[in-house]
Symmetry: C2
Subunit: 253 residues, 2 copies
């Protein structure tokens, strides 16, 4: 009960949001009570679960910078069991506004304390950077799930990401562990994808989820309808594999 | 002579690096003398033109934070006419290290002053965020080129990006103009791509480059060989369209 998983990777466009939204939706479908926190100023996860930014009361910005209670920022989504705390455009200023604040790395961790045990799992969707927003997520998390796109450039940032995780483990959150690596946008027709999979399995020996998410256009269409894939097209290849990934996360326990 | 173009978009994985590297390579092939500056801590553009980070003398970090001269950081690449200033892993700390420094937004602009007129064009590859590194690029640039992936989530951040550009124009760089919008990873088989193209053309009336970059696996393979597409596979569909885009940029003058 009450585990927190940060979905993080500073490389852009690797499937962090797609993984956080669809994993959250399938875990909710399995009967779990899930909280999805969007700390990316772009607010893609907020849109991906169908919330409208203009209708949001308190946002993640209010929680991190103005000390609003997280409970006030939690909204239900159209998916039973899936709740979300929304990101709004003012969050873009938070990276710099947090710098002088006291205990700036622990703002999310402290905000989560009173609510996290009311959920089976909390997922935090991170922005593509290793700044104070992602640091807040790593400092608040029990585990970190790393989506890695099956592309060459995606391999380059891994050493940097792992050294940031080690820094957080040493200075901010000794209990932080690796939940696993999720390979995304796999295209079996290209050698590149196969080479990247081999490389990642060598680098993260034993920590790569069996479910490899294929490139599937239905996954990129779903957000334009404000729906996770479990609602938009549950029979699609992308949906099937995210459902399997959710089972693996539950098995990991 | 001496124009500076920032390649920027805080949405991750939209093709900023792929555009900066390949546009730079084709402009060099047309006989221009091009400087590519990598200010993304991931250093993908540095790898994309075949430079080895371990062999780099002075880096962009040294220039921005320690006031090293940019001239010392400029290296030739394997492509005649294309030069580069490399990003190294220490650049990851620059966002926070720059915050207390005097004239922190103008570090790149001041570093470019003495060298930019020796090049026909300077391209700056930005990280996927709107922090001080991207602000430095926008404050130093004459123009900004915005790659936009033909995907739904890529539309969400545009208002935020445009308001940041307006902020820079008002407070840091009144001469900054929009060079244009380059649509990337277009997949003609999906309705989504077509819808996004229509939407972007409406939002940026008249500022969208005619050349629409198709999704093409050869573009994502080239970086693993440290080569731009003009060298790796000049007959590929991706190469042809980047060559056309280079012609359009020259026409814009
Ligand atoms: N398996 C997939 N198949 C096809 N498209 C995908 C897949 N996963 C994600 N996408 C699409 O690719 C783009 C990038 O994915 P997403 O936005 O989830 O990545 P991200 O890591 O969250 O990006 P950012 O770094 O900007 O936060 C999106 O447009 C998304 O819809
Ligand atoms: N037209 C294309 N067709 C196929 N693959 C592409 C294309 N353009 C870019 N890619 C691949 O997509 C991924 C994302 O592109 P790229 O790294 O250039 O984006 P970016 O905006 O620079 O990412 P970041 O936000 O992390 O800096 C890379 O693996 C790249 O090789
Ligand atoms: Mg995202
Ligand atoms: Mg890049």
């Amino acid at each position: 009960m009450g585990r927190v998983i940060a979905v993080a990777n500073q490389k852009g466009g690797v499937g962090k949001t797609t993984t956080a939204v669809n994993l959250g939706a399938y875990l909710a479908e399995m009967g779990k009570r899930i909280l999805l926190i969007d700390i990316d100023p772009q607010g893609n996860a907020t849109t991906g679960v169908g919330l409208e930014k203009k209708k949001v009361g308190k946002s993640v910005y209010d929680v991190l910078v103005d000390d609003a209670s997280l409970r006030e920022a939690i909204l239900p989504t159209a998916i039973p069991g899936l709740f979300a705390a929304a990101a709004t455009i003012d969050l873009a200023g938070a990276e710099i506004e947090l710098v002088p604040l006291i205990s700036r790395e622990y703002r999310l961790r402290r905000a989560l304390e009173p609510v996290k045990s009311e959920f089976d799992l909390t997922l935090v969707d991170c922005p593509p950077s290793l700044g104070l927003l992602t640091i807040n997520a790593l400092a608040a998390a029990d585990r970190v799930l790393i989506p890695i796109q099956c592309e060459y450039y995606a391999l380059e940032g891994l050493t940097q990401l792992m050294s940031t995780i080690k820094l957080v483990q040493t200075h901010l959150n000794t209990g932080l562990q690796l939940e696993g690596v999720a390979l995304t946008m796999f295209d079996g027709r290209t050698n590149l994808s196969i080479q990247v999979v081999d490389e990642v399995k060598r680098f993260f020996r034993g920590k790569v989820f069996r479910s490899i998410i294929p490139r599937n256009v239905r996954l990129s269409e779903a957000p334009s309808h404000g729906k996770p894939i479990s609602v938009y097209d549950p029979k699609s290849r992308g949906a099937e594999v995210y459902r399997e990934l959710a089972r693996e996360v539950v098995e990991n326990g």
